[in-house]
Symmetry: C2
Subunit: 351 residues, 2 copies
């Protein structure tokens, strides 16, 4: 980023109009990369130039922001996107203040792309914190107050280990994990912990808490990559939950530049599968119109074009029903840990 500011300086010095070049960040310039299995930007680029007042202001804001980020890193501090937006009001040049948080968010995304790092690397914390881990993992977290060595079963309460905003401060010390089980809902996460599924099966239970925060996706990816562990995702059986799986596995269109940091393309889907709804005769709700539309758009989504997903989604449209994870309780509180998960994980060659 300092190089980018230096480039502006050189452009000024040589009498050129300063500019910066970025991949075009529109839907039409985002492609699904078959090889890596994640979303990436295409070849088209856009140029931000100081050849208009509006363009000059954009580069001014970028310069102030780079200055702020450089100082923040030097001082070992951090801040949130929202704080950056408000903080810009205190900058000496009034024209450098952001007019909306959308504007500052977008600039930070631009800088992520230019610098080829994540915003956590320049100490911008996400607004929303990650969820929790429970399982046979010992880790070391670098905190501002020193190192903390924490075993994610023995040193934590039933709530588990709270993932920090920037999980890259974590080092994995030791583990006895066979696979990573990402769980959508708190009710199911608590059921698995109560039933001792993490100890019985050496599973690391990652609570996704609905659509997972960046920190949760990042630590899942690191666990997969660094410890060479399989990742499986266990959600409700409806189109919105399939998207939760999709965001763990393939990333999102909105943050295509982050896929390589956040996405785990090898992650597999456990269920609830439409097939399970039929096989186990689970209590269901009828599909709403919005569910049907979402399923139909998933049929067009490159992330869901496998035979497996086509079959499941068409089955779901056919039966017109959806079911929650906790619907498995209709067969008793232990059904999920005694029957359902062992059967599914065996089918998936995880067990």
């Amino acid at each position: 980023m300092i190089d980018l500011a230096a480039e502006f300086y050189d452009q000024f010095a040589s009498g050129e109009v300063p500019e910066m070049t970025l991949p075009t960040r529109t839907k039409s310039n985002i492609e699904y990369d078959e090889e890596s299995g994640v979303w990436v930007y295409g070849d088209r680029t856009s140029t931000r130039s100081a050849n208009s007042v509006r363009g000059a202001r954009k580069l001014l804001k970028a310069t102030y922001t780079i200055d702020f980020l450089a100082r923040q890193l030097e001082e070992g501090r951090s801040s949130t996107l929202r704080e950056l937006y408000y903080l810009s009001e205190s900058w000496e040049t009034e024209d450098a203040a952001f007019s909306s948080q959308d504007e500052s968010n977008q600039l930070i995304e631009d800088l992520e792309i230019v610098a080829d790092v994540t915003r956590e690397d320049f100490h911008m914390r996400p607004e929303e914190s990650g969820a929790t881990l429970m399982g046979p993992l010992e880790l070391r977290e670098q905190t501002r107050r020193g190192e903390r060595d924490i075993h994610c079963q023995e040193d934590v309460g039933e709530g588990g280990y709270q993932i920090p905003n920037n999980p890259d401060t974590i080092e994995f010390l030791d583990h006895d994990i066979d696979f990573i089980l990402c769980v959508e809902t708190g009710g199911m996460r608590d059921r698995l912990v109560e039933n001792g599924f993490d100890t019985d099966y050496n599973a690391l239970i990652v609570h996704l808490k609905g659509q997972p925060a960046r920190a949760t996706r990042r630590i899942t990816k690191r666990l997969h990559d660094e410890l060479d562990l399989p990742v499986v995702v266990f959600t409700d059986g409806d189109p919105w939950s399939y998207r939760i799986y999709g965001s763990v596995a393939y990333g999102s269109i909105k943050s295509a530049h982050l896929s390589k940091y956040l996405a785990t393309p090898e992650a597999d889907f456990v269920g609830i599968q439409p097939e399970d709804i039929v096989e186990y005769d689970l209590p269901t709700d009828p599909l709403a119109d919005s569910d049907v539309n979402a399923l139909e758009s998933e049929l067009e989504d490159p992330r869901f074009t496998t035979d497996y997903w086509k079959e499941q989604i068409e089955l779901q449209l056919d039966i017109g029903k959806k079911a929650e994870q906790q619907a498995l309780a209709s067969r008793g509180l232990d059904f999920v840990t005694d029957e359902y998960l062992p059967t599914r994980l065996d089918e998936m060659d995880i067990l």
Copy 2:
């Protein structure tokens, strides 16, 4: 609850139609109790009687549920409200299955009132887990895997200690806390932790995470009652955030029977006050119509009829603006911990 089931039996045996009596749970039978400072039920009662098929079914469901809860307690297990609803499909009498989750939720609330305990006492876990603690507190949590002694600064990462679903499994061992600071947003919670506010001021920082979960309110109340510590609440400066303060301090109409377990009437409001918006010239958003309506209904709310709230709410309606906690960053990232909180807490006689 067993007594209640025994009563049904006796009523049957003596040839009476079984029935149970409960306080009427409508808005008109809920009163603000000036003395205790929380919402309570009035004197009106309703009777659930088996003199109709519908009424008989209700009592049948109650009996099955009591049986389930008694077994759950015996076995040292727990479950969620949603699991109970699904589980009822597995009961041998088909008529005992709940037709909706509203029905099972309501029955559990009835049983809380009849038994005069919280549903956590009969091991019904909330669906949504509590948030986190950070500060000079050492506690012991009874987990299914044994006791865990945890210091909420030294034994946790930057994410803090995750409050378990039932905080009554916690014993407070030792502390160096001067006051409890409940914070609405994650961004502000992280700012306070980064700036070391908990260590500099011996504050226990409780993250409310928006409208606080039961577990968060319960542990706040226990900390206040058992350790005799002042509680202050720090939120955004808008009517919805004042309600968050209200739910910590006075409980909600919906769960009036739980006020004595969950509410901390002595909790004080730090801000953002409408007065702060003016005094510190904070970046604001204009009040939407829904904000104005909410403020006007707060003027009628017995929880907000003090001179202080009347003045603040009228000022806010007058200036037509609201501000977020993080808007304090417009004066620099340290303003909140170096200036704003020390000044306010001094005014409030906390420091």
